[in-house]
């Protein structure tokens, strides 16, 4: 099973196995990783599962849809070119070993 590494704003690093098709957000919640909040549960109504994707993986991500684009304009922490909502990153083989960094704040 592919894994994903989550790095907190203070540098705390957690690597977990992530089943194909599931999202980076839901695996963070199920594994008790702080730093991803997901108040709306992945309904794309909030921007509290914001992550910075390691640049090495940006080419493998799906394009940012219109809805995600709007929500990324409303994150609590600075939006950067590699900002994504982790509820919109679905695990696929090309993303094995993905590294995401979590912002200092989600709200």
């Amino acid at each position: 099973m592919p894994n994903v590494t989550y790095i907190s704003s203070t540098g705390e690093t957690t690597t977990i196995d992530v089943p194909l098709g599931t999202t980076v957000m839901e695996n963070a919640i199920k594994n008790g990783i702080d730093g991803i909040v997901a108040e709306c549960g992945g309904a794309m109504m909030c921007a509290t599962c914001h992550v910075y994707v390691d640049p090495a993986f940006l080419d493998q991500l799906d394009p940012i849809g219109d809805e995600q684009e709007e929500m990324l304009g409303a994150t609590a922490a600075e939006r950067k070119p590699n900002s994504r909502l982790s509820c919109q990153i679905h695990m696929k083989p090309q993303l094995a070993g993905l590294i995401v960094r979590m912002p200092e704040r989600q709200t």
């Binding site: 199920k30 921007a47 709200t107």
Partner: protein, 399 residues
Amino acid sequence: MQPGVVIVGGGQAGLEAAAALRTLGYDGTVTLICEEAHAPYQRPPLSKDFLTGKQEADGVFLRALAYYEKHRIDLILGDRVTEINRGGRLVHLAGGGTVAYEQLILAVGSRNRSLPVPGAKHALYLRSLDEAVTLRQRLAEARHGVVVIGGGFIGLEVAAAARGAGKPVTVVEAAPRLMARAVSPPLSDFFLDVHRGQGAEVLLNTAVAEVRPDCVTLTGGRRIDADLVVAGIGVVPNVELAREAGLDVSDGITVDEFLRTSDPDIFAIGDCSHHPRARLESVQNAVDQAKCVARAVMGNPAPYRDVPWFWTDQYEIRFQMAGLSGGHEQTVLRGSIENRKFSVFYFKQGRLLAVDSVNRFGDHIAARKMLAAGTALTPEQASDETVDLKKLAATQSVG
């Protein structure tokens, strides 16, 4: 152990209050008392992706169990507060125990309104995870027909899930239009078309006389075969515990703008809380009131002023609401109802009150920002598609 904060109710409001206290650095004890045997979970998917089978039960929990341990949140599951002893500053549990508090947060939620007709026991309701598991199973087994009593959000989401699964569906609504309590007539009409277009029979101005194991009879005498009857006719806030403790209650537990009840050491948040502005039943209200109450507990109170927002998914329609449209004097349409991409803007004395959006995500987000920032928007600008709402809206977090 020093008494700290005790939170009664393990819905999203209760959980988010516990989480917000820890985020703000609260160092005392935090006890979260949940009546259900489950750790806190999300309710919105229960009538959406969980019901349609796109999401499983293990995906609805708001936090992993390890979270509660790590953040020293004492989770009491499957027990219920039977009494608040304000003099002694403690709560009594049905299981026989007591928990002392310094500050008490009531996040006791609401319960489904019961169907006031003979045979009501044959109808299912949807609020809890256990109810959702039962409903999902019964929906899969239904062959002859599904009758949904109540054309509000829950009823229509259930109807959409049932039609999506190919079941014959009849929606019975007592009012002259759908979702009448929450949306304006053009939106009620739009959703009526959507549901009828999907093959659901929708009966307005229609009352149920009786529910039987194999059918529903209407007051007009018609009988509708059904092997599944679901009632979604609104909720009643749980005020009894507060009332018996002598706190002020009306439609909900009365609180001030800081979410304090008539006892300064007791707060009420979420569905059960009647704030001076309104009593709301939504994720937004649960989460934002939880953050607000945490600030008050930390001795840094700020009035609750967050912009209300809400969403419902029915078939391929995403409907999003921002603000409160009650008391509006003027409505303005932006976009095309025919193309199923439009927003209705609500104004009072030229001031924007609320925006309801159908498949217009950008309008919704812009509306949340404008309402939060108090951005001036004229009805003419709202209806003019060449006006860029995103640019008008001040850049700020809506998280």
